[in-house]
């Protein structure tokens, strides 16, 4: 494969998998801006090291390894609110997240269908909470709830979505 084809492959793989890498990072650093910064730093390293990637191996697993070391390298510059856990717990969580990567991908796909099934009012709340520039207070304001009620509703809706996703996956696994 020549350099040009490798570049195309790199772009394709990054484009296809950046969401999964972000998801992994967010699990380790549950702060959106910090996780996005780390995603960009990870992408830079992926670009630099792409020659080392073996095409027949798992790109996401390889990228997540890079992401993990980016988190480790960056943790000293974050406050405790960004990287929550000590190294041992961080490593255990990272391993769990890496092992669960295929399942998490399936859950992501199933979530789209579960979101469609939500009551429009709930859907508006959750989307407003998670959209760029959104947040719990914005979601509360938009949907005419108090902030406390919005927190409660968000917890309930996330639980609903998680149950729906689990149900869908278990239904799919029945032969």
């Amino acid at each position: 494969m020549n350099a040009n084809e490798r570049q195309k492959q790199l772009v394709r793989m990054l484009t296809q998998n950046q969401r999964r890498i972000f998801s992994y990072l967010y699990t380790l650093v549950p702060d959106r801006p910090a996780a996005e910064d780390l995603l960009q730093e990870t992408c830079m390293v992926i670009c630099e090291k792409f020659d080392e990637f073996q095409p027949e191996t798992d790109f996401v697993a390889w990228a997540c390894q890079i992401a993990y070391w980016e988190v480790r390298a960056a943790r000293q510059k974050f406050s405790r609110s960004k990287v929550l856990f000590d190294d041992a717990v961080l490593e255990a969580v990272a391993k769990t997240a890496a092992d669960m990567s295929p399942e998490l991908n399936e859950r992501h796909e199933a979530l789209a269908l579960c979101l469609e099934k939500l009551h429009p009012r709930d859907r508006e709340l959750i989307i407003t909470r998670y959209e760029p520039g959104g947040g719990v207070e914005a979601a509360a304001r938009r949907t005419g709830r108090t902030v406390v009620a919005a927190y409660k509703a968000l917890t309930r809706i996330r639980r609903l979505l998680a149950d729906c996703v689990t149900l869908r996956l278990s239904a799919n696994s029945i032969p």
């Binding site: 570049q7 998801s23 967010y26 996005e36 979101l115 429009p120 938009r142």
Partner: protein
């Protein structure tokens, strides 16, 4: 260790608190304890956090926001919220770009900036230290945004083309693409011909540029000194009352004045100050790589118009065949000093997705694959299909001749620039005002059309009109005059969200004043599929006619040097593209 039911409930609550930012320190310690002890807890935790990560992703794709109610003038007719009526999300399984259709908003010759519209960007700097949150190189700046520079130099490029270099400590309000307020500190303004009329004001003086380079120093006590380095400016002293009003004065090269509350005075040490301001500051500039397709239309015969598919790199390569590595760009953040918070974070999508320049053979294959194919109607002849162009030859559409080109793959909702030269006969009829270009550049495949406006009740007749679905924006410069005009339309992300796009039209390198807009904003609706829609390389661009209306009578006029670029060009880059028919290098940008 398996979790008990109460522990599962507790973990659920802790995870919720974590994603919503309400976790206390004791709760954090408890969460850490559970995760350290139980693999089941870790699996639940990972699923919960991944759910939130997925929701961030889907929420970026969906429309859940009600239309803005505040920014609309009182005479607006009721906004048609048809997108809401069809069901907030369920009906839109595919990504769809919806425009908010309000009444036509007319803009006069004044400022056209909308609330929170991006009107400038941080294009360079040297040793910048910010008072408050730092601005990243390349950061977009919105109307109303205050820039607080503690030390160093910051270069701000306005969409009009005006360039301000701010020297810290300084405070500047970005008012619009055509205006800024220097609250305190020193600036140097370089205003190209296209931005003539650019204004810098403060409590002491209004300085209106007449094509020039000038410096301004605003002191803490309100007194302001103005120095003209080149060209001329018109200075209007501000007065506390009508009685104290003083006449405007025109300052020419090497002249300077000091504007105080109740008087205009000579400047002390004028020569030394002029010399200091005339010094060039070597700034570090941001130059992002771009990939583009270019149809030069230089063929003299045949039914084929070759294309060049290539790009420039941040290392200044502007040669075909030079590899371009699409590194993800850093986050661009609009920092509002007043509110002190980050307003928007861009997604980290590797941006340029057009085919990369490669080996000689591949470049040749692309040149054939994405070439425009000309379609001759029975009444049109090959003899008139080519004309003298602005650069070499041009495609001459006679109202019958049309062309179709395969679009290379690219990310649809990323910033984009479409640029071309156009010559429309002064006697072109309304029936001959079909789109100059039309292509599925919007995310739902809605054609984006570029035409001259034939509806005088909607906006300036004969001016550039960019339509997306049912929305449109109309400029003011007449195109229907038999002269060559350079047109560039820039689609860029709004600071209100990456899925909301801004459209800016440039004619002859100048930001064209908007005579009418018929959409307020665009947002993405939809659910499912890949989050970033990338054209597959099977979509086509129609030249001289509407998309999907093969064979209909089309546009009459000549078109030349069509570029489709995968990022939003600045005014300066557009001007250089217009003048040199190629993308600028870093050196060209620094020199211009």
């Amino acid at each position: 260790m398996n979790l008990s039911d109460p522990e599962r409930l507790e973990l659920d609550e802790l995870c919720s608190g974590l994603v919503d930012g309400t976790l206390s320190e004791p709760q954090r310690r408890r969460l850490e304890q559970l995760l350290a002890a139980s693999s089941e807890a870790r699996r639940i935790y990972v699923r919960t956090l991944a759910l939130s990560a997925s929701l961030f992703d889907y929420a970026s794709e969906m429309q859940a926001e009600a239309p803005e109610r505040t920014a609309q003038p009182a005479n607006l007719v009721a906004v048609r919220r048809w997108w809401w009526a069809i069901g907030p999300l369920g009906a839109a399984a595919a990504i769809a770009l919806a425009f908010w259709l309000g009444s036509v908003s007319k803009h006069g010759g004044g400022s056209e900036s909308q609330p929170r519209e991006v009107v400038a960007h941080l294009s360079g700097g040297k040793n910048c230290q910010w008072a408050g949150a730092a601005l990243q190189p390349g950061a977009q700046l919105q109307s109303g945004q205050r820039i607080e520079l503690a030390a160093g130099f910051a270069e701000i490029s306005f969409d009009s083309g005006a360039l301000l270099v701010l020297e810290g400590p300084a405070s500047l309000d970005v008012s619009s693409a055509w205006e800024a307020v220097l609250r305190r500190g020193t600036l140097k303004a370089s205003v190209p011909q296209e931005a003539l009329g650019f204004r810098v004001s403060n409590a002491a003086v209004d300085v209106v540029d007449l094509g020039t380079e000038f410096s301004m120093v605003a002191e803490e006590n309100g007194a302001t000194e103005v120095f003209v380095l080149r060209g001329a400016v018109e200075a209007h002293p501000r007065a506390a009352s009508d009685a104290a009003a003083r006449p405007s004065l025109v300052l020419r090269e090497s002249q300077a004045r000091r504007f105080e509350r109740n008087r205009v005075a000579e400047v002390r040490n004028r020569e030394q100050k002029l010399q200091r301001f005339a010094r060039k500051i070597a700034l570090d500039r941001v130059l992002r790589p771009a990939s583009f397709v270019h149809w030069p239309f230089d063929e003299t015969a045949g039914d084929f118009a070759a294309v060049q598919v290539t790009g420039t790199s941040s290392a200044d390569s502007n040669k075909p065949g030079t590899p371009v590595l699409p590194l993800p760009t850093r986050n661009e953040r609009g920092e509002n000093q007043g509110e002190g918070k980050v307003q928007e974070t861009r997604p980290a999508l590797p941006n340029p997705l057009l085919p990369f320049p490669g080996r000689e053979g591949e470049a040749r294959a692309n040149a054939t694959k994405y070439a425009a194919r000309l379609a001759f109607a029975p009444l049109s002849t090959h003899a008139t299909a080519r004309a003298e162009g602005r650069w070499g030859r041009a495609l001459n559409c006679d109202g019958q001749l049309t062309a179709t080109a395969l679009l290379p793959p690219f990310a649809q909702r990323n910033p984009l620039t479409v640029a071309f030269w156009i010559k429309v006969p002064p006697d072109a009829s309304v029936a001959e005002s079909e789109p100059i270009l039309s292509g599925p550049l919007a995310s739902n495949g809605d054609p984006v059309e570029f035409a001259w406006n034939r509806a005088p009740h909607q906006g300036a007749f004969g001016a550039l009109r960019t339509s997306v679905g049912r929305g449109f924006i109309i400029g003011t410069t007449p195109l229907r005059d038999g002269q060559w005009h350079h047109v560039a339309v820039v689609f860029s992300h709004s600071l209100r969200g990456p899925q909301k796009m801004q459209i800016k039209q440039y004619v002859d390198g100048r930001l064209d004043r908007v005579s009418a807009k018929h959409f307020i904003k665009a947002k993405v609706k939809g659910l499912g599929g890949e989050p970033r829609v990338v054209l597959s390389g099977t979509e086509t661009l129609a030249i001289g006619r509407r998309q999907n209306e093969q064979g209909t009578a089309g546009f009459r006029g000549a078109i030349d040097e069509l570029f489709l670029l995968d990022r939003a060009l600045s005014q300066k880059e557009i001007r250089i593209l217009m003048q040199q028919n190629r993308l600028p290098t870093r050196d060209a940008l620094a020199a211009n």
